[in-house]
């Protein structure tokens, strides 16, 4: 068996669709070909990870509709279920849809998301807070471009005094601030703007203040940077592109 054939049969094997004879041939090939064996391991690992709740997400219904529409009518579940479906109920199919689409999407995104356990969950929290702040018309509790208005506003509301700097001259004007809740504690969220993009900056006292600027993987299309500002743990979230957001985080870090 050559490698081209093996790469195709790998799919059949992983889908549980290979007949015994072919499967044994494939196993023999994998035993003597490290490249194909490596490919097999990575495909298998990817599928396993995708079963974790952590990486599982449902594809939006519109996407599924689009995919269905592109199929020959005979392949759509409604039609097929009328033909003969000994094993698969449409419920299974429905369950398999998001899983499979997620599988493919996560295939390459995944290795970039796996590490950094604790940071991962903070990243998720700050992205959620960012999204909520944009949704609920609750972007700011104190709306002011004046850092000397925003900073005192936090007095007595938090057990620390956040660093508030306006970066209007650098093209990141301060818009305001609000109270938020991240990592099981009250934090301040500062809101900056870059063109039409909103940037949320979350801060709380840090135990480790050595971090310069570190890029945390983007979550759901948002970019996240982590840094420290004057002894504060600082998380920056926006839909702004990564280059500009990094520039902003660097500014915060150096001026804080």
């Amino acid at each position: 068996m050559n490698c081209d054939d093996a790469r195709i049969l790998l799919h059949g094997h992983l889908d549980g669709e290979l007949e015994l004879g072919r499967d044994l041939e494939l196993q023999r090939h994998l035993a003597e070909c490290p490249q194909c064996a490596g490919e097999y391991q990575s495909m298998r690992a990817m599928r396993q990870r995708l079963r974790d709740d952590e990486f599982h997400f449902a594809a939006p219904p519109e996407l599924l509709e689009q995919i269905r529409d592109a199929m020959p009518a005979a392949g759509r579940s409604s039609t097929v279920s009328q033909i003969s479906r000994p094993r698969l109920t449409s419920r299974t199919a429905r369950f398999a849809i998001p899983l499979a689409v997620a599988a493919m999407l996560a295939l390459l995104i995944l290795p970039r998301m796996i590490p950094r356990g604790e940071n991962d969950s903070v990243a998720r929290e700050v992205v959620s807070s960012h999204v909520r702040s944009l949704m609920a018309s609750h972007l700011t509790d104190v709306a002011s471009t004046d850092q000397h208005t925003v900073k005192p506003w936090f007095d007595g509301k938090l057990d620390f005094s956040p660093t508030v700097i306006d970066f209007a001259r650098e093209g990141f004007p301060l818009v305001g601030g609000r109270l938020d809740y991240v990592g099981q504690r009250g934090v301040n969220a500062l809101v900056y703007q870059r063109g039409k993009h909103v940037i949320n900056v979350f801060m709380w006292p840090a135990s480790d203040t050595t971090t310069a600027v570190e890029r945390i993987e983007s979550e759901h299309g948002y970019n996240v940077e982590q840094t420290t500002v004057a002894g504060m743990n600082c998380w920056v979230v926006s839909d702004l592109n990564q280059v500009e957001l990094k520039k902003f985080a660097d500014l915060l870090h150096s001026r804080g």
């Binding site: 889908d15 269905r68 579940s77 499979a100």
Partner: protein, 46 residues
Amino acid sequence: MRDVEGLSYKEIAAAADLPIGTVMSQLARGRGKLQQMLKQRIAKES
């Protein structure tokens, strides 16, 4: 059809009127293509 509808290779072969071997190779090709597309997109983004 495999990944979205959860059909077996046999069912796809019947629905698309193709031999099972072709179903498997097309599936491998499709998944490979998707992988390439995602790779390029991620490379562009980072």
